[in-house]
Subunit: 274 residues, 2 copies
Amino acid sequence: MSSHPFDQALKLQALAPDRYAGRTSEAYWNMVGPFGGCTAATVLAAILQHPDRLGAPLSVTVNFAAALAQGPFEVQLHAARTNRSTQHWTAAIVQNDAQGQPQVVTTATAVTAARRETWSLSDQPMPHVPPPAEMPAMRYEKAMAWLDHYELRPVSGMIPQTWDGSQRDDSVTRLWMRDVPPRPLDYCSLLALSDIFYPRVWLKRATRVPAGTVSITTYFHAGDQELRETGSGYLLGQARGQEFRNGFFDQSAQLWNEAGTLLCTSHQIVYFKE
Amino acid sequence: MSSHPFDQALKLQALAPDRYAGRTSEAYWNMVGPFGGCTAATVLAAILQHPDRLGAPLSVTVNFAAALAQGPFEVQLHAARTNRSTQHWTAAIVQNDAQGQPQVVTTATAVTAARRETWSLSDQPMPHVPPPAEMPAMRYEKAMAWLDHYELRPVSGMIPQTWDGSQRDDSVTRLWMRDVPPRPLDYCSLLALSDIFYPRVWLKRATRVPAGTVSITTYFHAGDQELRETGSGYLLGQARGQEFRNGFFDQSAQLWNEAGTLLCTSHQIVYFKE
């Protein structure tokens, strides 16, 4: 097992083929729980370890029902249906509450697939942006722990420098990103990176309101070959919101590698407080 | 109970608070199973009937693990977590196979939420297109049954008239749509409509290959008020693909009402055959 903090965070102990014990990571701690991308990656890590797993991740949906508390948890899995080339998973993260009662904190579904080479084409070319070396990395003071484990080089749509409530025309952020320390990309780290964007409502309103992802869905376009070609290079991420309404907004994101290959597309619905 | 075919298709009998018996509808039959939007709506209909349900739909993810066969099925639900203003659901559609063994054909998760009025803003204005009355409705000959129950008025990106394999620059379709006969919009019919677009790969390649949705996620921006304001009017739907790779492509869609209110955004990953 690698000593990379991301691998440490995703370390699971098989209790049974359908049950995996884990523990929250200090390294990826956010404000009131782990970084959601790390939680999603933990569910996927369990699926990838399952002895019956067929193929590679195609689609993962993770619903954040409650914040994980610091400490142990269990990932429970079920291969609900296995077809010839696709497999449908249901999953949950369960954690004991203060009374020692198991509570569902995360629900999830996933599809894995044995993919074959076919006609392929992108309809979402990578935007023309300066290379990562030309964009300074963000520096934080007293930031949340998980931000120490990502190198983020914003290209546009940075976190507002002044919280003056000014409304912005668009809600687009573009940034280069990679793990700290650099780590060869795999399905789990790609899934985590797809959740890296700060809340679109902060950008749109220049107002820092409480906000948190309720549900994220990531579609994997990358297979093993694209992951290998990406290695530990930077990814360009782009995120935008479409609708901000009555306590929730959506976000759609794309992540390309430096060569311009679209590795995944990702969508989420996010709670925000007035 | 309304006699509208959509209401008939979604008719469920409560066997227990967490179990609902249904039957596939001839009216919404597709090629090898029901129209996927109708199947997704059936899962949501069960959730909305559950006596413990909190609030309105915020997010629904439905994974199509296998085609439903004609006949009876059961929707199984579980309120995995109920918070103060959100509720997390897991669901499955189960159907007996030829040997009488229950098999999971659909898995799903959903979040319902009691929403409050907050600061709201759209970042995805409706495209400027001619009104529905100016666009002729599509006519079909010997089409699949479910198409008889939707009025579709394409604006751009129609199904190719000739399957000549010519590659198209974009994969965008815009069309006006509503139920046949007209029916006041509700959450279930909105969810079904979010799955109405024909496969993007047909448009992109002008080649009619087998294709089917594997997983769909729809985010509801509309609440009761926006549904009421929409009534039985037309919706403008827009869909595009981002990446077509090794047997799967993704699709992102937006549905606005005639007044230009974004009612939902929807995403799916779709299987296609070379």
